[in-house]
């Protein structure tokens, strides 16, 4: 069974990563910015999985699993910070939150 070359997967991963980077830079809603970060995690995951299949080594897939775990931890902490900021200020435009103090 023939699957596309690794380069194709890497191009898709690069495109997804760049979409995430641009989204993170352009948007001002912290929740949307977090979702842009999730896009970047997933671009990395796709590259990991493509190389794992290319080299026939399971370690790449295991690292996708670990990246998903770390992404979950990051989302939980970041959303807790967003909840705190919303509680104090009622809105959370990141351009207005230039200092991390109450």
């Amino acid at each position: 069974m023939q699957i596309p070359p690794v380069a194709d997967y890497l191009i898709v991963a690069a495109a997804l990563f760049v979409v995430g980077v641009v989204g993170f830079l352009v948007r001002r809603n912290p929740i949307t910015m977090l979702m842009a970060i999730e896009l970047m995690w997933n671009a990395g995951n796709l590259a990991f999985a493509a190389f794992a299949r290319s080299f026939g080594d399971m370690s790449g897939q295991v690292f996708v699993f670990i990246v998903i775990t770390v992404a979950a931890a990051e989302a939980a902490i970041a959303l807790a910070i967003v909840v705190m900021v919303f509680r104090r200020r009622r809105d959370a435009d990141v351009d207005d939150i230039s200092v991390m103090r109450g």
Partner: protein, 170 residues
């Protein structure tokens, strides 16, 4: 297989653009769910059966529900974020230009190194299955596994400390 790959790749990239472009965060979450499903299919084309499952269950199931909960709690009754004009009004165009430049560089690098032609060799025995995955996770990559467990512990404690405080409005 190639058609499936490009179909899912295009869906993933378009929904990714939708995630960062939509005004309402709930629409972004829906786009992200479709994006993760397309990525799960891409993992399946790479013989990552277990990865495709955890992509759907953990990512689309658990993490995005966390996002939905936070959106539901925070946006009810509050005015929409980004309704005020941006104080950095010229940030969009340079960001997009920089993103396209980065994509060009990445694509050039990928073309330059030419990693492998089409993958024709069958994967090793048991590649991508849960048993092989678990053996690799708990033997070869045991240290990374334990560090990840510690990261999760720190995250749990941090979230309890931060979100458990009484609300103070200024």
């Amino acid at each position: 297989m190639s058609f499936l790959f490009w179909l899912c790749a295009v869906i993933a990239i378009l929904t990714g653009i939708g995630v960062v472009a939509s005004r309402h965060p709930v629409h972004s979450v829906v786009g992200l769910i479709v994006n993760f499903s397309a990525l799960a299919v891409l993992f399946l084309t790479l013989s990552g059966e277990f990865l495709a499952m955890i992509q759907i269950i953990i990512y689309a199931g658990a993490i995005l529900v966390l996002f939905l909960f936070v959106i539901a709690i925070l946006t009810a009754g509050n005015r929409a974020v980004e309704s005020a004009p941006s104080r950095l009004e010229f940030q969009a165009v340079p960001s997009i230009v920089a993103g396209l430049a980065a994509l060009t560089l990445l694509a050039a690098g990928i073309r330059e190194t030419r990693p492998a032609a089409a993958i024709t060799s069958p994967p090793p025995e048991g590649f991508g299955l849960v048993a092989t995955f678990g053996r690799s996770l708990l033997t070869t990559n045991l240290f990374a596994f334990e560090v990840t467990g510690f990261v999760l512990l720190v995250a749990v404690i941090g979230v309890i400390v931060m979100a458990g405080r009484p609300a103070v409005r200024s």
